[in-house]
């Protein structure tokens, strides 16, 4: 059984009755929507028309929000409805990154995400969803898509219907009859700074990247807003995690780099442990309900890379701690063995985010196959620049720094300029150039600082290279995290 809708855009008049009826039924807070109507205007006077598209959760057959939810708060019900248990949700908003349709929002009052659940509470009382009942023109047709006799299944069988973003492979179960491509393909139409009778919601203020052309004479003229959910904490998490992982990855070579004494024996592990603690703090702090972080362990969804990553971080922390303890106990051989084990685990710490981000089906930029090597290069870069003050004369270490910086540079440029596989990735890559942090262009200046300034400084004051390298890398992460969230999904 699979509940789904046909939205008949040959009948829809764009009146927003569904939008408001849904808010009334589900008490959706101002600024958020479980369903809404997007307006797109296409053409030139007098051959111009406004096209409507009723946008909402697709109750996906293979729902990425369910896969990524670390605490099983999201669920694919036996009737195909994707429902959310707000009490279980910890507010990590990974589902909002995983959804290619912007179908979820965070209820700030609850600290939990909410979404269209096909009015499951009505369905179980035998009633149609509120949007269906209110629609003046009966353009929203609900039913079991698996039942060939259901009305929506018949419409789908007899007509050339469309779904949103089929390339995402999620198996959407909202089918559109008679919708224009331009209103279903996000980013094809240009977005003016205001809408025809509404302010444009204040999120995502960056101007559209000039490198991404929009369809001529196509304009999005009314749409709802979506916040950028992952911000500085996630960017900083990437950086602190890279430092922790990099320090551990390079730890076995500490002596080889000429580090001695305390620096050789303890610095890598202490650095890793402290930064790991910061990383974990950031992860917890970013939750809308931080006090519920433990549910990652008590209600784990083993398919979620948030859980797997959490386990990796935990194992890593244990290994590092054991290593320190062994070294304090002067059990050098065992400590060195743990150092090796930690280094291997550290590469998992550095790299697991690539698998997590690959589960973010809404952020195509993050799904790049280059992300894994890039994360490893970043970790190496972070680890090596942090070692430099303690081994400033080590040519080998400098070589590692230079190689990792150059790798970061090359991978960054490739991400920015390569032929992207999807529209969303192309748009996100374009946005890399428009994201700013204060007066700085995050991507460009991030690279200038982390690459050029660092490379120059390595000859002048190698002890201080970590400052531009890490700062520049943070700028880069800021661009990378934000840009991927900027392209419209509606």
């Amino acid at each position: 059984m699979q509940y789904g809708f046909v939205i008949d855009q040959t009948r829809c008049i764009g009146c927003h009755a569904c939008t408001v009826a849904c808010k009334a039924e589900n008490d959706v807070p101002i600024g958020n929507f479980r369903t809404s109507v997007k307006y797109t205007e296409l053409g030139q006077f007098p051959d111009v028309r406004r096209h409507f598209a009723v946008l909402r959760c697709n109750q996906c057959s293979d729902a990425p929000c369910v896969t990524i939810c670390p605490v099983n708060a999201l669920e694919k019900r036996p009737d195909g409805i994707v429902d959310v248990d707000r009490d279980a949700c910890i507010g990590c908003r990974a589902c909002m990154q995983a959804c290619p349709y912007d179908a979820l929002y965070l209820n700030d009052d609850l600290g939990a995400v909410e979404k269209c659940h096909f009015c499951a509470h009505r369905i179980e009382k035998g009633l149609e969803p509120a949007c269906v009942v209110v629609c003046p023109v009966q353009a929203i047709i609900p039913g079991d898509l698996d039942d060939p006799n259901s009305k929506p299944a018949q419409i789908i069988a007899d007509n050339d219907t469309k779904v949103r973003r089929p390339e995402q492979g999620t198996g959407p179960n909202v089918h559109y009859l008679g919708a224009d491509d331009v209103s279903l393909n996000p980013g094809h139409a240009s977005r003016p700074p205001t809408y025809l009778w509404s302010d444009r919601p204040p999120h995502k203020g960056e101007s559209w990247p000039a490198s991404v052309p929009t369809v001529l004479d196509a304009t999005t003229t009314l749409d709802v807003g979506h916040r950028v959910e992952w911000g500085w904490a996630v960017s900083l998490y990437l950086l602190t995690k890279s430092i922790a992982a990099g320090a551990a990855m390079l730890a076995p070579f500490a002596a080889a780099f000429g580090m001695t004494g305390f620096a050789a024996s303890y610095l890598p592990e202490i650095l890793a442990l402290v930064l790991l603690a910061v990383t974990c703090f950031l992860l917890v702090e970013d939750l809308a309900r931080p006090m519920l972080f433990y549910r990652l362990l008590t209600m784990p969804n083993w398919n979620s890379w948030l859980v797997r990553g959490g386990i990796i971080l935990g194992v890593f922390g244990l290994l590092i701690s054991f290593g320190i303890v062994l070294r304090v106990l002067h059990l050098q051989t065992a400590a060195n063995a743990f150092r090796l084990l930690s280094a291997v685990t550290a590469s998992a710490v550095a790299g697991y985010t690539a698998f997590l981000f690959a589960q973010c089906k809404g952020r195509d930029l993050w799904e790049s196959p280059l992300l894994l090597p890039h994360l490893l290069a970043q970790a190496t870069l972070c680890g090596s620049v942090c070692f430099l003050p303690f081994a400033a004369s080590s040519l080998a270490l400098k070589l590692v720094v230079v190689i990792s910086i150059v790798a970061h540079l090359l991978l960054s440029l490739v991400e920015r300029f390569r032929a992207q596989p999807t529209e969303n990735a192309k748009q996100a890559a374009g946005f890399l150039s428009t994201v700013t942090l204060g007066p700085l262009s995050a991507f460009r200046d991030g690279l200038i600082i982390s690459v050029i300034v660092s490379l120059v400084l390595i000859f002048i004051l190698p002890e201080a290279v970590f400052v531009p390298a890490l700062f520049g890398l943070y700028l880069y992460e800021h661009a990378y995290i934000r840009a991927a969230q900027l392209p419209p999904l509606s």
Partner: protein
């Protein structure tokens, strides 16, 4: 967690037998299965005039309204609503709503009010009205209504007082369209049978707004799905136009010419309905007047008609309207092919915008007549066919006085009161008002020349006592002496009927909490006892007030408020409707009995009743034998009695025909000849005041279309609906890219729009959905308030300061955008929109059409980029020009009296019709 899939297929609504105790899962607790028990009570939406059915879900634990859905038992809306229906819950729960009667304590407009008692209110007004009636100052009492939302109740109240005091908003709304329709048939509105139409021609936006948006949209789209073609004529790209097969955006003001070109093609190509025309059009009158010398044959009539409209070729229309001649031919042929299945509608649109707008409606109806679509299945019926207003008990006699502040001699054919000229009339010394009720009416904001309203409302010698009856704050209420909170759609009684389709129905608005409590066996005597705070309903207010005006019956008023069931005692609102349902609604008592209910119980349970279905061709109804007694049949088939025509012979049968002097459809309007407009005797083309020949584009002159509405707002009554404001909160000026380029402007750049009496500063919206050379600005937005705690709701209003720049020149300048605020509703802290739009109507001078009296909304304006000192939202008005421009338009009138020393043709409808005696100029 267990799932319950036993219930399939899905139903749309809870079955009515469970409405007293409907169990639903709490959406807020979901997926925890918390059962909530509701009582479902039907009512009628009050957010536009369509009277769609709603059902309130009342939580039986808290006795609060949880939500409102559509009422499946409502014949017009069929269980569905637009966005405004479910938004009613916002209005009920609005944290800023007025809960108690307020009395002004500072000077008018100072924003200082204190809570008072309803007793004090009623006694104050009763005493003042009593005195005015005793002193025969009956024309000093005025009730001024914005949204009626009821049929007949107030007519009865006002006539029971013996006053001619009903003022309305109609002349800023639909008067021109109404006059155009009325001249044809006596019925002032169309009732298109969209569901069965083959061609739908709209000079309206009924897929998004207007009377009756939701019921009409349902049926238009049903027809579209069945293959009907839709043509929308609208200067800007509406949602309706977007769904149409043809969108025509002619030069504004040339619409009549376009319609006549359709008629031209239909006549030339013989696509008209010959037998219908021969039978039902007063073509003999036409021939008699046009060419009295010829033999009056129908063929001759057709020849002469072709000759008369020979000028309206598609090519001539192309030159005039800017619409391709071939396209005009194509559409005309499609109209002809649809035959009598031609559904059409004009409501505001061009009729409300242009000088001579009433002729546009008349030209549209010409197409309906030519195709024989009048009253036909799939055609265009008359509102009188499909609207059913049941009579109340003891109807008062018509008043025997005439109020010239409402219907002045200058406007004998004005279809409704010259409402928006009231301040100008008072300024001229035509009278004063002792007691003024504004009811769900915001003239200061809505009407043109709002500063004249400001002047009037703040002058205690012109308006001695002013009560604003309103569910929510508005700009006008800020200037009232009393602000009296009245219930929203779920908190009051009203009875309504609308011509939504080829049927007749009534819909009952109910105070849902009162009804719920009564169902639970609680004694509720008055609606305010169940409503929030001390929010009253008007029905009870008028009963109480009337009772106190005439406590001993000496004024002859009291008897109309005595119970028909308990002689001598004061009527209750239950009894008022009980009597109507028992005595005036055919079929209702029988239907109720089938359900084992009294008629009142039936209406309380179902909320609506279908009086008749498939109502077509009412004009063909047989003239009753009783009426035919002592009548004569004239050679042309007209049946007359006592010198008055009462029917016609058609198909050999005596039939009632149309409610016109000729009992036929009046192509030739003798009324217009008699009342000094002989050049307009036929449907024709009047060159609008904003015709492009009047424009100098090089000087930056443009036409401003300020009338269009949005699907998600309600005139000036959405400010208390957060979910509607979240969707629609700005009204930028629409400008075609060519014009934007010419001015060097882009979307969001500031533009100064200068009218004849002021200017406003708004931002630009560059769009292909606008004809080059024309600009447009939606009319709902730009709400303002002068202080923080009084005035229009903060969901919607910007705070402004009013400054006098020089004598008579006033500027409103925004000092605070819309911003989040603290309230009992956590959503008020989440407001993310800031704009709220710009108030344009303040800068419009009055432009009364000399015939219909309709304010001609379209403006000739000059546009240019904003000047350095201009701020977004600035509104500057030179009030010194108001009266001059008023007089300029007034000079175009051709005043009464007409034939027989009449103020107005007796046959033409008039709101709250006085006795015939009052029609004569003394």
């Amino acid at each position: 967690m267990p799932y319950d899939f036993s219930i399939t297929p899905l139903e749309s609504f809870p079955p009515i037998d469970q409405w007293d105790d409907w169990v639903e899962y709490d959406a807020a607790a979901w997926p925890k299965k918390v059962q909530k028990r509701y009582m479902l009570v039907p009512t009628t939406c009050f957010n536009c005039e369509a009277a769609c059915g709603l059902v309130a879900y009342i939580d039986k634990d808290t006795m609060q309204v949880r939500k409102l859905e559509g009422n499946p038992h409502h014949p017009g809306s069929r269980g569905r609503t637009c966005a405004k229906g479910p938004a009613t819950i916002n209005q009920i729960n609005d944290p800023q709503r007025i809960l108690y009667p307020l009395k002004r304590v500072g000077p008018r407009g100072s924003g200082k009010f204190e809570r008072t008692t309803w007793d004090e209110v009623l006694d104050t007004f009763a005493a003042k009205i009593h005195k005015a009636l005793l002193q025969d100052r009956r024309n000093e009492i005025m009730y001024h209504v914005g949204r009626p939302g009821a049929d007949g109740y107030m007519d009865r109240v006002l006539q029971s007082w013996g006053i001619d005091g009903h003022n309305s908003h109609t002349n800023v709304c639909s008067s021109s369209a109404r006059l155009g329709y009325a001249l044809w048939s006596g019925a002032d509105r169309p009732s298109p049978d969209h569901a069965n139409a083959k061609f739908i021609l709209l000079l309206s936006a009924h897929l998004e707004t207007g009377h009756y948006f939701n019921p009409h949209a349902q049926r238009i789209i049903d027809a579209k799905s069945q293959g009907a073609k839709i043509c929308a004529i609208d200067v800007r790209l509406s949602n309706t136009a977007s769904m149409a097969d043809y969108w025509l955006a002619p030069w504004p003001g040339t619409e009549a010419m376009l319609l006549l070109a359709f008629a031209h093609v239909i006549l030339q190509e013989g696509l008209f309905d010959r037998s219908f025309l021969e039978q039902w059009v007063n073509w003999r009158d036409f021939l008699r007047a046009q060419c009295p010398e010829v033999e009056p044959t129908f063929d001759r009539f057709i020849d002469e008609l072709k000759k008369h409209y020979a000028y309206a070729t598609p090519e001539a229309a192309e030159a005039e309207c800017g619409i391709d001649a071939e396209l005009i031919r194509t559409i005309a042929r499609e109209i002809g092919a649809a035959g009598s299945a031609l559904a059409t509608h004009i409501w505001r649109n061009a009729a409300a915008g242009n000088l001579g707008g009433w002729q546009i409606a008349r030209c549209l109806q010409l197409l309906v007549v030519l195709t024989g679509a009048v009253g036909a299945k799939g055609g265009t019926c008359l509102n009188t066919d499909n609207k059913f207003v049941p009579a109340p008990f003891l109807k008062p006699p018509p008043q025997n006085i005439w109020n010239e502040l409402l219907y002045p001699l200058e406007y004998p054919l004005a279809h409704h009161e010259l409402s928006y000229l009231l301040p100008h009339f008072l300024e001229e010394g035509r009278g004063k008002i002792a007691v003024y009720f504004t009811r769900v009416y915001n003239p200061l904001w809505t009407n043109p020349d709002g500063m004249m309203w400001h002047r009037m409302l703040t002058d205690e010698s012109k308006i001695e006592l002013h009560a604003a009856l309103t569910p929510t704050w508005n700009e006008t209420a800020q200037y009232a002496d009393y602000v009296l909170p009245m219930g929203v759609g779920a908190e009051r009684h009203d009875l309504m009927s609308c011509e939504t389709h080829a049927a007749k129905w009534i819909s009952f608005r109910q105070p849902v909490l009162r009804v719920a409590k009564q169902r639970l066996g609680e004694e509720v005597q008055f609606t305010y006892q169940a409503n929030p705070g001390e929010v009253w309903e008007e029905d009870e207010f008028w009963i109480e007030l009337s009772w106190r005006i005439d406590p001993d019956g000496s004024l002859g008023i009291r008897k109309f408020y005595e119970s028909p069931y308990r002689p001598g005692e004061k009527i209750t609102v239950d009894e008022y409707y009980q009597w109507i349902f028992e005595n005036s609604v055919p079929g209702l008592p029988e239907e109720a009995a089938k359900h084992d209910l009294t008629p009142l119980q039936y209406m309380r349970k179902f909320g609506a009743f279908l009086v008749a279905e498939d109502v077509y061709e009412s004009y063909r109804a047989e003239l009753p034998a009783e009426a035919r007694q002592d009548s004569q049949t004239q050679p042309d088939g007209t049946i007359t009695k006592n010198g008055k025509s009462i029917g016609v012979i058609a198909d050999g049968q005596p039939r009632v025909g149309f409610n016109t002097p000729s009992r036929r459809l009046e192509l030739h309007s003798k009324t217009l000849v008699d009342w000094k407009w002989p050049e307009q005797v036929l449907p024709g083309y009047i060159v609008s005041h904003i015709h492009r020949k009047h424009m100098d584009r090089d000087k930056g002159e443009y036409v401003l279309i300020p009338t269009f509405r949005l699907p998600t707002l309600i005139h000036t009554r959405s400010a208390n609906a957060k979910w509607l404001y979240e969707l629609s909160n700005t009204n930028p000026v629409w400008l075609h890219p060519q014009d934007a380029e010419r001015l060097g402007l882009q979307t969001t750049d500031l533009l100064r729009v200068t009218t004849r009496s002021g200017h406003f500063v708004n931002k630009v919206w560059v769009t292909e959905g606008m004809r080059p050379g024309v600009i447009a600005c939606s009319h709902h937005l730009g709400r303002w308030r002068l202080s923080d705690d009084v005035g229009t709701d903060r969901w919607a209003s910007a705070k402004v300061v009013k400054e006098e720049l020089s004598p008579g020149v006033v500027r409103f300048r925004r000092v605070e955008n819309i911003q989040p605020f603290a309230s009992a509703d956590p959503d008020s802290k989440r407001i993310w929109w800031t704009d709220g739009g710009v108030h344009q109507n303040l800068t419009f001078p009055v432009q009364p059409d000399p015939v219909s009296g309709m304010h001609c909304w379209h403006q000739r304006v000059t546009i240019k980029p904003a000047e350095p000192d201009d701020h977004y939202g600035d509104v500057v008005v030179d009030t010194n020009k108001s009266m001059d421009i008023y007089r300029e338009w007034l000079a175009m009138t051709r005043p009464a009296p007409g034939p027989d020393n009449l103020r107005r043709p007796l046959w033409l409808a008039r709101a709250v019709r006085p006795s015939p005696k009052a029609y004569r100029v003394e």
